[in-house]
Amino acid sequence: MTTPRITIAVDIGGTFTDLEFRDAVSGRSHSLKSPTTPDNPARGLTDAIEQAGARFGFANDDIALILHGTTIATNAVLTRDLPAGALITTEGFEDVLEIGRHARGDIYALKGPDRSVLIPRRHRFGASGRIGAGGEEVRAIDFDALDAVIERVAASGVMATAICLLNAFANPAHEIAIRDRLLARCPDMAVSCSHEVSPEIREFERTATTVLNALLVPVIARYVDALRLRLAEAGIGAPLYLIQSNGGAIGLDAAVKTPVKLLLSGPSGGVLAAQKLARRLDTPDVVGVDMGGTSYDVAVVSGGVRSVVTQGEIDGLPVRVPMVEMHTIGAGGGSIAFVDPSGRLQVGPRSAGAVPGPVCYGRGGTEPTVTDVNLILGRLDAATFLGGRFALDLDGARSALRDRIETPLALDPDHAASGILAVVNAKLAASIKFSLFAKGLDPRDFALMSFGGAGGLHAVEVAEELGITRVIFPRDPSTFSAHGILFSDIRHDLSRTEILPLLPESADALAAMAAELSAQGTALLDADGMAAGRRRLILTADLRYAGQAFELTIPLPDGHITAGTLAEMRRRFEEEHRQRFSFDDPEEEAELVTLRLTAVGVLGDGGDAAPDYATSETAVAKTRQVHVNGAWTETPVHRQLALPPGAEVAGPAIIEQEYTTMLLPAGWVLTMTPSGDMTARKDT
C-alpha cells in the first residue's frame, strides 16, 4: 500500500464547484471546475473528485486529505432558511437580543428600519440564577423554576436552543447546569452555550452570535451527514475538514458544534490564496480585492499574514467569532450609474444584479452599469466576453448611457463613460484606503492583488489612484479560493475575557489563564489526532488603555510568562498604538481584556504548489480601439494563456482570458511569472 499523496481542496459556489489538488510526490497541482449540484452539494463534491481522479490519475486510496470551503451556512442566513429556535437568558434579559445596540443607520429615515430578530419574544425565556461581573455566583439557580422553563422550551417545538447568561464568559457554571438539564429533558435538542461560542464580554454580541450558532447547528449537521454518506458511497475514506471564517480548517464533529465559525468560509479561501501568493511572490504586504457583480471585498495581508478580526457582521447580524477581516462596499460590474435628484452623478450601490443585469446583457436592463461602460469604452470585447458564449448589446448600452447620463449632465459620450469609471474607481480606492487607514498603514507600501471576475479592468487604475506601484493578477482568478484552501491548517481560536492591569504583578494571573487556554487547545488538537510535531499554540492578548473601547491584539512574547513578559507586552502595545493612531500615552494605565489562543494543527507538508504553467494558447496579433489614459487608442490585445513565463507586456494593453479581462494602461509593464501569475509594475 502506498502512502496517500493527494491533498484536495474543494470550494463549492453557487454555479461551479472548484477543485484544486496537490500531489505531494510530484509537487504538482491541478485544478478543474464542475457544475454545482444545488439539491445535494455533496454529490457535486464527489463528482469533482472522481473527475479529477480520472483525468489526472489518482485513486481514492491516494487521497490523504480533503479541505472544503462551503457557503451552506452563509446561504442559510442570507435566505433566513433557519429552523425555529428558543433562547434562554438570565431572567430579566430576554429582550437583549431584540434591543440590540440601539443605533440606527439611516439617520433621516422616518419609517423604521427592518430589524432581523432571529428568535421571537414568545420563544425567549428567562432563567433564575445570577453570575456577577467577577464570575462570582450572586444567586443560585432555582431548579424548580428552571424545570418549568425547560417544559416551556420543550412545548415550543423548536429544534435548537441558545443559552446566553449574563457574565457567562467569566463563569460558565450556570450555562452548563441549564444545558445539562435541558438535554436530559430534550436529548435531541441542538443546544449552544455562549461561553463556548463566544466567551467574551458584551452580552448582545454574545447572545446574537450564540443564537445564530444554535440555529445553524441543524443546518450544518444535516449537511455533514449528507457529506459523510456521499463520501462513503463514493468510497472515499480520506478525512475531510471544513474551512472556517478565520481561514483555518476544522474537523466535521467540531464544525457541527460551532457552525457560526463557517459563515465566511467561502471568502476566506480567497484571502488564504492571496496570503499564499503574496509569500510566493515575496511581496509580504498585499491588499487583496475581490470585485464581482455587486460587491467589492477588501482584505489585507500585512507582513505575510492575513488580517483577522474578532467580530464581523453578516446581513446586519453581528457575528463575534474570529474571521478574516474584510471590508465590503456595494460596487461591482453591475453597479448602476444614475443622476440623483440633486443633479449629481452617482454610481452604485444599487446594482442591476444578475437579473436584469447590465443593459448589454439584453435581459431587460435599462440603466447603464459599470460593465456597460467598460464595453462602451472598448475595455470589454463583445466578441470574447465569457469565452464568446454570450452576445453583448453594445448599441443598447450606448443608448442607455445617452438617455440616462449624457443628456441630463450635458456630457459627451466619452466623458460620461470614462467619468463613471473614474467615480467607481475612486470609490474602490477609498475603500482600500479606509481599510488600511484603520490600521495606520499606508497604501503606497502595499501591492494590490486583484481577483474576482470584474476586478481586472479596474485594478491598475485603482492602484494609480492610491499611489500603489505594483499590481498582482493571479493566474486563475476563477479557482483562486480553492487554491487558497489547499494550504489551510487546522485552527482553533480560543479566548478568555478577564480585565487585568498590564503590570508585572499580573504575571501569575496571566500565566494561569494561559495554562487553562493551552490545556483546552491541546485537548482539541488531541481530538483532531494531531501529532506533537505538527502543533503550534500561539497566544495573543487584546490590550487597551484603561477605559478604551477597542483593543489592539498583540502577540505574547515566547517563553514562560513572567513580570518581564508584561513589560514587553506594554512596549509592544505602545508601539502598535503609535503606529495606528499616531500617539501613545506612557503615563496612562493599560489593561488586558481578552487573552486569545490559536491552536494550529499543521496539515500540509510545508511544500509549495506553484501549479505547472506553460502556454496553452497560440499568440495571435490582435488590436482594438480602447479608451485608455483619456483617449481612444489602438490597443494590443493579448491572450493570457499565450504569454510564456518571462514575457513582458507594456501598456497600454488588454490581457484576456476566459473568465476575466485585465487592463494595463500606458506607463505600466506586466510580467508573466514562472507560475503563470502576472505582476504589473509602474514604469518609473
Partner: protein, 542 residues
Amino acid sequence: MSRPDPVLLEIVSAALVSVAEEMSVTVWRTSRSTTVRELLDYSTAVFDAEGRNVAQAARMPVHLNSMELCLQHVIAHHIPLEDWRDGDVIVTNDPYCGGQHLPDFIAFKPVFRDGRRIAITCVLIHHVDVGGGAAGGYTASAVEVFQEGLRLPPVRIVKDGAMQEDLFATILQNVREPETFRGDFLSQIAALDVGARAMLRLADRYGVETLEEIGAALLDHAEHEMRAAIAALPDGTWQAEDYTDPEVPGGEPLKIAVTLTVAGDAIAIDFTGTAPQARGPINATMATTTSAVYYAVIAACGVTATVNAGCYRPITVTAPEGTLVNASFPAPVAMRMLPGHKTATAVLKAFAKVIPERIPASYYGTTFNHAVNIRHADGRRQVYFDAELGGWGAHPEKDGPNGLAAGFHNGQNTPVEMIEALFPLRFLRYGLASGSGGAGKMRGGLGIVREWEFLAEAGLLNSAFDVFDTRPYGLDGGAEGAGGSLSVTRDGETVQLAAKTVGHPLKAGDVVRMQTPGGGGHGDPAARAPEAVAEDKADGYV
C-alpha cells in the same frame, strides 16, 4: 449654481466624506469614556475655508446640524477668521457662544496650505463631566448656566501646534473625571489632526481652487435638491404644538408652538406662542432648536442627498427671545435635549398635516440621560453616565421599532456587562416595557425598562428625563404611547422620583428602576390586522 466637472465633483465629494469618516474612526478607536466609546456621543465634520459645512460623518444629527451655527458664531463674535492661525485649535463648550450645553466641547482646527486657509476640521465630543452641581453636567436644580459647570468661551487650546498646558490643566482641575476627560480630549485633538492632514493631501492632489469650487458646488447641489423637495409640497401655513413635562410637579406642560409656512421652494418655521424660558435647565439655545428643525425638515422632505449646509439654506428659523427654544443668558440649558426633541416632534406634527402619508406618530420624546456620582468605601470616586431611548412612533405603513434611537439623536447603548465590569451596579432587568407602545392600525414601538441594584457605599442619582406627564402623540386615531417613570426601592419601599432628579442619595442595596416611553400609534386600533393582533399577544408586546 457653480458647475464644476460632474465627475470630479463626485470624486472630491466622496474624498471629503472620507476625511470626516477617518476623523470619526480616530475618535472611536482612541477615546476613553463609555460616553464616547459605547454611546458614540460625538460627531466629526469638514468645513470650507469660510466655515461652511461641506461634509459630515453620519452620526448624530443634533451635533452635525449645529456645528456650522457654532462656528459662524465664533467667527462673528469671538475670533474673526483672519485671526485663525496655522497650528491653532479653537474650542468652546459655551451655549451662549453657539454651543448647546456644557458637556459638548466643539473643537475646530483651521487647515492652511502655503499660508492660505483652505478648510476647517471639527470634532464635537460629549465629555463625561464638566464640573458644576451634578456629575455628568445635568444639574436639575441649576437656575443659571454658572451652576452647570466650567464654561469655556472660544479659546485657542492649541497654539502654533503646542497644547496650552496652563489652560488644559485649568480645565482638568474643574472636572470630576480628569483622566477620562484628558483621554477623550487628546483623542479629539488627534482626530482634528488626522482630518487636517487628509485635507492637505486633497489640496495637493486637486489644487486649492478646485477644492473651493467643488465645496461651493456641493452646497449648491444639496440646496437644489432641498428646494425641489420643498417645491413639491403644497404652499400654505400649518400650526402644531407639542409639550415637555411641567417644570414643577402639578404645573402646566410647557408648550412648543410651531408655525410651518411652505412658500414655493422655501420653508419658514416660527416658534411664536412657545412657553417662556424655564427657571431650570430645560431650555435650549438657538443652536439646539435650529439643529432640531433642520433634522425634522430634512427628514420630512425625504432628502436623500449627502446632507451639508446647502440643505439649510431654504430653511428659516425664528423664535422669540426668552422662550424655551431661544433662552436668554444666563438661563441654564444642560437638559436642552428635552425641548430639542419636542421641537423636532412638534415640527413633524405640523408636517403630518401637509404630508400625512409620510409622517410617523411621535417617538419616545427625549434622550434619557442619567448619571450617578459614586463614592466607594475606600473613598474612590467615579461618575457613571448613561443614556436610554424608547420606542419609535408608528409610521402609516409600519409598526414603530421597539427601543431604537430616533429623532435628532442617534447612539448606542452601553452593554450591561461592560457597566457591571466598570461600575458598582448590578442589573436586574434590561428589557422591553410590555404595553407601552401606542395602539393603532400600526402600533408604536415599545419603551425600555432598566433596573439595577446599587452596590457601592454611597451615590447621588441625577436624571434629565421627560415625558413622565406628557405622552408621545398618536396620529390619525392612533393612541398615545405610554409615559416614562423613575423610582428607587429601599428596604422594600418604593419611591417615585421626578423626571429631573438631582442628587437623590443612594446606598448599597437600593434598586433603581427606569422606564422609557413607547411610541405613539398610527391609525384606528380597530383596523389593525388580526394576525398582527395575535402576534402582539403571543409575544407579550401588549
